[in-house]
Structure formats: C-alpha cells, structure tokens
Symmetry: C2
Subunit: 374 residues, 2 copies
C-alpha cells in the first residue's frame, strides 16, 4: 500500500475479532468505519449534488467500472480529469471491477482463463474484460480504491461453477496486481465462494497469502437471503487480517448491515437509499414508509422528527407526497437526500455503540424498532 | 395595497417612461426589478432546491393556480401551511389566476359572464372557475402577489373573440377585487386585448381607473412573435401608472425581455431556463448550446468561463454531456441551475445598464452576441 493509504482500528471491544471502529486513510481523505458508501453508478449519485453528499455525512462514494467503461468510456473520464473531477467530489472514491455487472447485466458471457467476453446491455456490442484491461480502465477512472476483476456466480449455482469462479478469481487477483500501475490507488481483492464455507475459506486464505491492502466479500446480495449472507460473512471475516479494511459488496439492508458490522465488516455499498428514494420511499427508524400513502396528504410533519437532513428540516410529508404524486424532479432528490442521511446516521450510531461497548444492545433496539411491522 | 407592499422606482434615465430600476416590497421581502421570476408550476421549480434558487440570485418565484387547484388541491396547500411552507421558500411568491392554463390546457371550455367551465387535463373532470373561486383558491395558496382571473384568447383569434375576452376580463377584475380577503396578499389585474392596439388601450385604461396595485400584460407569448409582442408592450405600458409594477406574463426569450424592459416592464416569468435545462440545453452569452453535441465529449471547460453558478464552478461540459446522454437526474438539475443563473445575471446587467444610463448600448451588445448565429 502506498504511503497515502492507511487503515487503523480505532476502537474494538474485543482485541482481534468482532465489531470495530476504524479509520481508512486515502489520498482524498479519511473514512470513518463502519461506513456506508453511496453508489454513483455513472459518476453521479443519482439526483444528489456532491455538496449535499458532504452535508449529510457521506465520506466515500462508489462508481461502477462496467457502466463507465461503456459510457462515456474510460478514456473520456481520464480526459475529463478522472472521476474526482467529473463527480466534483474531492473525497475518497471506490470503483468496483465490473465483474458483478458483467455477470448480472451482460448477455452471452463466455468465461475463459484469459477473461470474460460478453455483449453489453446497452447496444449489445461484444466486449472483453480481462484482469489487465479492468485495471487499465480503473487506472484511467482514477478512484482511490480499485477492485480486482472477479467472477461472481449467481445464487443458486452448482458447486462446480462456484469452484471454477474461485479458481479464476484467485488467478485474476494475482494478474490484477501485476497489471496495477498507480501508487495513488489501492488495489483490493474480492473473496468469492458462494454459500460454501470451505470455498470461502480457501479463497480467503489464498488471497490473504497474496497480501492485499484491503479485502472485499463479493458474490453476496444475489438472492441468498439474510441467514446465508450472515453465515458467509461470519465464516469469511475471521480469516481476513485484522489490520486490513473489509468491504461487503452491495449490501445495505439494515439487518444485513448490522449483522455484518457485528462480524467486523468496515465498508458497505448499496443502491437502496437512492433507489428507494426514486420510488417514493423513505427510510425511518420505524421502518420504510411509502410517501404515496393517502395518510400523508395533509401531514405537515417531516419524514422523521429528529432527522437533521435538509429534507426533514424544510419539507413536510404532505409536500413530499404531492411531489411524488406529481412526479416532480424534487421528489427523488429530496427522498434520496433523506435516505442517505438515514444511512449515515445509522452508521454513526453503530460506530458510537462500538466505541461505547454496547453494540449488541444498540443493534437489537435498532432492529426491533426498524422491523416492528415485519 | 396593504402597508407591507410597496413599489418604488429607484432609477430611470427618463422621468416617467422607458426602462427603470425598481424595488418591489412584499411581506416576504424585496424584489429588485426588472426581475426574472422562475416558474414553480406545482409548488416546485423543477429540479432546483430553494436554497439553490437563493444561491443563483432568484428573489421571487411563481406557482400555477390551475395546477395546484387540481393537485394537491388548494385546501391541501392551505393545510400544509400555504405555498411558502410547501416550497420551503420564504421569499416573495406570485400565483397566476389559472386563466392561461384553462385556455391552453383544458378541454371543452364554456365561458359565460359567470366564469369558465372546462374539463381538466388530468382526469377530464368538469370544473368551474369564477373570479371569486379563483381568488378563494389564491387566498388559500397564500402567495404575496395574486392575479385576477382573466380570459386569454389564442393567437390568431377573431377580433370579436378578443373584444369579448376584454369585456369579461374587465368585469372579472372588478369582481376579483370584491372577493379578495387577505390584506397580506396584493391583487394585480391583467390587461388583455390581443394584438389590437385599441383593445389593449381600452382595457388598460379601464383597469387603471379601477386602481390596482400592480398591472400585468397577459395574452402574449401565445404565438404572436417578437414584433407583435413588442408592439403590444409598446402601446400598453405607457398607459400603466409609472408608480405601479408592471408584469409581462410568460415572456422570457432574451430579445423579448430586452425589448420589454426597454419599454418599462418590471417583472417577467418564463419556463425557458428550466424547460431547456431538462432538454439538455444551456444558455450562454453566445447563444444556447446543446450539451448532446459530440463536440463537448472531452470538453473539460465549464458552460461559461465567467459564470459563478455552482454548475459552472464544479462541472465540465464533458461531464454534463455524459450526464445528459445517460439521462441522469443530475443533468436537468445542473443545467436548470446554470440557466437560472444565466437569467438572473442577464437581469443584473440590465439593471446596472439602466442605472448607468447605457441601456441601449448594453442591450444591443448583449443581443448581437446572443443571436450571433441566428
């Protein structure tokens, strides 16, 4: 890891396992972990200005390599000054490897040792992504943290398919590291292995032996459900070095976040706050609410009384309902802003609870209240 | 006019005609005129947060009575605290009378002395708007300046139809005044008369005799074109009291704005900056540009080098092109913000030129440059 990067555990109730508060340092600043990373797929967190991201406590954002490689193209991003310039975001950025999208969005995939050939989901053109080309793209995009190309099997999948995914992911991690050129970017690897404990363990062990500066758990949030996700995280995290950041890809459902933070995960990314915001839904401590509900028609109160976000400080549920019903642009904007603040507040509470040695009680109270109507 | 309202001419090269800089005072603050009023049809300037409106120099916003009466309903707006609360905008607000929309959007209109019956454009339900009901709605909405219900004929229209529109508009102005209840709202009237000088003059004279605190010129921007608009404004404005604000409804094309400000118009509203922003277009001193243009693909410069808006300070043409092409929410947001700033800057220049006694030279230079490619 280059000098500009560091990760340190700031506070942990137990010496070397379980939940921890950490500090990830990058060339573009610090991230207090556990942290939520909003998704800015095409170099924009949908509908939210970068100054507003700061305002609601966001410290790091994610952009998707697959989408940006297609449009506008990695060369265009590079010519426009890289992702930080394009996004007008001077904080830390992370790019994924494109693997997840290739295996979920693209068609006619053919995977070989060399890489993966597919037809993209926009114009159907044939493209090839190799560990080397993914790194070249990510070097052009210029994020602080970049991910190695991996193979992400669906769920369920035959064990043989998951074994092959692990084999390829391991080989590609090694090649990614050899191809990586920029010392101002940290290259992290991804643990695969599906829901198979032995495959997760084998994959993690081999990646740890390669000594990456950060480790992600991939191949989750593909339909395996809360219990299996928890098992996967529970068996994988203890194998990862205590001194390195751990990132659970694509996970954001509150119960998944809480269980994984308890296991010692540091970073989470998820589209839920912005996607649900665009669908007229708002997160609250008492569960998600649908602003379309007739009950909010003349409700002059905010989404959440104790929320300090710009939406809750200025707009009522009634107004938000009107904006949602009228399909006004301000609706997804205001709801996404609140939902992002809901997530950053959730993580602030988790960090405080870890520091104060009361994680389990806090987590229980929080989940009991959030899922009270489930 | 209640005490909280005032209009004073601050600076004018000629004593009682031609362009002037003024100051309109309302219960929610001051508007420096000539001023541009962005349109917030459904209680939101599409895609722009109220704090951003302030940031780009907007002082007053407009909302549409017709749209709000349909959805969410004037009673709901009232129950939610009125337009200022709903829009989270503590500055001056103006509502139109609904007349323009009834005559442009609604179907199966039947106009009588009593009022106008129509089927609304949303669910086709039959509704009636009378001068009294329009005022009742506007009282509920709670804007600082409200407009009397008028009859807005199309262009072209038979002279007899325009004569009838003037007759009804005059009678309705009188009845609107009798119906108006709130002393914290100023009721302005609207001059109709199509492109007929004698009808405009007759209508203006009779409305002036009724002594309203503000006068609008309506029935323009309906396809009559720049030259006819200029004639209408040129013959109507001199008949309006020098000591009262004059408002040209729905006008925003730069050449129309400049010609009308020269004639002594104080207020303008128009959807152009936000509508064009949503269509991927940006106003510049050198004319409008289409961000979809391939030429901007790797253009790392801002829309306008000398613009101080948040969009120009942070986002390049290349990034904006990418956001437009990707149909990202941030595209209409960022372009609307810039376009609103283009308009407030245009008006700042006009006001400065009037104060400095160089309106004609400034106007000529400005239009020559803006329309250089026409």
């Amino acid at each position: 890891m280059a000098d500009a990067f560091a990760y340190e555990v700031v506070s942990a109730p137990r010496a070397d396992c379980g939940p921890r508060v950490g500090r990830l340092t990058t060339p573009h600043g610090v991230v207090d972990t556990p942290a939520f990373i909003p998704v800015g797929t095409r170099a924009t967190v949908k509908g939210v200005l970068p100054e507003t991201l700061r305002q609601v406590g966001v410290q790091m954002v994610l952009a998707n390599t697959y989408h940006l490689a297609l449009r506008p193209g990695a060369d265009v991003v590079r010519d426009l000054g890289g992702l930080h310039a394009m996004m007008a975001w001077d904080g830390p950025i992370l790019t994924d490897s494109g693997g997840f999208q290739v295996f979920s969005l693209a068609a006619l995939r053919k995977v070989t040792d060399e890489g993966v050939t597919f037809r993209n989901h926009i114009d159907g053109a044939e493209m090839t992504l190799t560990p080397e080309s993914a790194i070249a793209i990510e070097n052009d995009l210029g994020a602080d943290v970049i991910m190695a190309l991996d193979v992400c099997p669906p769920f369920p999948a035959p064990r043989s398919e998951v074994e092959e995914a692990v084999r390829l992911t391991l080989g590609w991690a090694e090649r990614s590291r050899a191809a990586h050129r920029r010392r101002d970017q940290a290259l992290w690897c991804i643990v695969q292995g599906g829901v198979h404990r032995d495959l997760r363990e084998a994959c993690a062990a081999k990646l740890v032996a390669m000594d990456f500066p950060g480790y992600a758990i991939g191949g989750v949030s593909v339909g395996e459900g809360h219990d299996r996700l928890r098992e996967v995280v529970g068996c994988t995290v203890p194998l990862l070095p205590w001194t390195r950041p751990r990132y659970l890809m694509g996970v954001g459902e509150p119960r998944d976040v809480v269980a994984s933070a308890r296991a010692g995960v540091d970073l989470f990314d998820c589209v839920l706050p912005t996607r649900n915001g665009r669908n007229g839904c708002a997160f609250t401590a008492d569960g998600m609410i649908r602003l379309r509900n007739e009950a909010y028609r003349t409700d002059a109160g905010p989404i959440e009384e104790d929320c300090d976000c710009p939406t809750c400080r200025h707009f009522s549920r009634g107004t938000l309902r009107h904006l949602v019903m009228s399909q006004e642009l301000l609706a997804p904007i205001l709801l996404s802003v609140h939902n992002l603040r809901f997530y950053t507040r959730l993580f602030e509470r988790l960090r405080a609870a870890i520091r104060d040695g009361r994680f389990d009680a806090e987590a229980q109270g929080l989940l009991d209240r959030y899922y009270q109507n489930d």
